[in-house]
Symmetry: C2
Subunit: 224 residues, 2 copies
DNA sequence: ACTAAAATGTGATATAGATCACATATCATA
DNA sequence: TATGATATGTGATCTATATCACATTTTAGT
């Protein structure tokens, strides 16, 4: 098993692993492929693996008191659900593939082992957790304080700039999911997208989106 | 300097430090006392210390696009702002004392040093970060989905159960701050508290609060 | 290719909660 | 203890956004 040794998508933490450690990792690591819509792990199930997304787009979501809440869109390569695997026995949230996704399941014991024996690895994991938490703080405050069109505008820019790195792309979410992500009703998302379309900020047809006026969209995202 | 060696409020991570490590920590650690209202660290300032709250109540808050957002109420003993010290050069949020607070400033270098040389310490920090993040996810979803009276009810129960461990206590926040914490306007917080009072759920007089009907308050917190 | 199911668009209506306006109470400091 | 400043309570609006209702489009399974 040399899959990890020659993996081209190693995490910044795994870059600190030596050859023998990578070999060990390769032995206790399972590679799985998920299709769009497949559940990678489920809230309330026992959490026993660290998940590493080699490639693909994943939504992290949680059942809230009223409806499903999408907490985050994660793009490989990145770790997934370290907090819920280490912080609790049970998954506090679910992860579902939004596109075809390549995932490695890493046994929690070997992960702990690396943390214990390789301080550079441990430190990278800590940095990773810290950055994630900061990102999440910002996202949360934005969600809480911006108004709905601002949240939708922000999300469109997020997909363009962070995920697809182009202004023309296919939305990987339904209107309903976009609502769960931005804290809007399905109907409101439709309306806001229509408005953006009519004002010439975007060009939308089904899921395919083209951003036409990034500056104005950014202004809307900024000022609520 | 033996303040850490004989400290009665050591963190779960610091319990894994040996005598010589504690001595080292004692040398590069400064103890400071803050009064109610004092700023412990400020958003956008350079972050160069890990802060450990030995005793006291602290609010973590962040300037949002519309208003100030209180992200969390932290109670000593606990670490404060590990994410912002390790995850960024600059503080992503502020911390302000809500009561008289005893704080230790720990040099980031010695902290990193412990992470590198003491794997148990590192692992405890990781567990801590993970649990914090899970807590924050839950708080965020609650904030986003519950309606205002639910958020206020939840906060009252939080103070009673988690912070003061009694049903009669003095609110350490103004109505305005309670709004910043629960995402309500100052006026709305007043109204909600008055309602709770009139319905006999609580007894309120200024900042002093007595919870009379915990079950019903819990129901309100649950069902929005 | 056909049909049921699911997703989407859009108007009308309802409402939670913000904002405004002002009265009252409490606090801090000279 | 007097006095300005700050915090709080409460009614009257106003508005963003949810909800409802239904038409239309798209998708998936046979």
């Amino acid at each position: 098993m040399e899959i990890c040794k020659f993996c081209s998508k190693r995490s910044s933490a795994a870059k600190h692993l030596g050859n023998d450690e990578l070999e060990k990792l390769g032995h206790s690591c399972v590679e799985v492929s998920f299709e769009k819509g497949d559940i990678i792990f489920k809230q309330n199930a026992l959490s026993s693996n660290i998940i590493y997304v080699r490639e693909g787009l994943v939504k992290i979501h949680m059942a809230g008191p009223e409806r499903e809440q999408i907490l985050k869109i994660a793009k490989g390569p990145s770790y997934l659900g370290i907090p819920t695997t280490i912080g609790d026995k049970v998954n506090n949230y679910s992860a579902t593939a939004l596109t075809k996704t390549e995932v490695c399941f890493i046994d929690i014991h070997i992960f702990k082992d690396f943390i214990s024996t390789n301080s550079e690895f441990a430190y990278e994991i800590i940095v990773n957790l810290c950055k994630n938490e900061l990102g999440h703080f910002h996202r949360c405050v934005n969600q809480l304080q911006k108004q709905s069109s601002g949240r939708v505008a922000e999300t469109l820019l997020f997909f363009a700039d962070e995920i697809f790195k182009t202004d023309t792309f296919d939305l990987p979410l339904s209107r309903h999911e976009l609502g769960d992500l931005t804290g809007n009703s399905r109907e409101n998302v439709s309306r806001i997208l229509s408005d953006f379309n009519n004002e010439g900020l975007i060009n939308i047809s089904g899921k395919s989106i083209q951003i036409l006026n990034k500056e104005k969209l950014f202004m809307i995202s900024r000022n609520g």
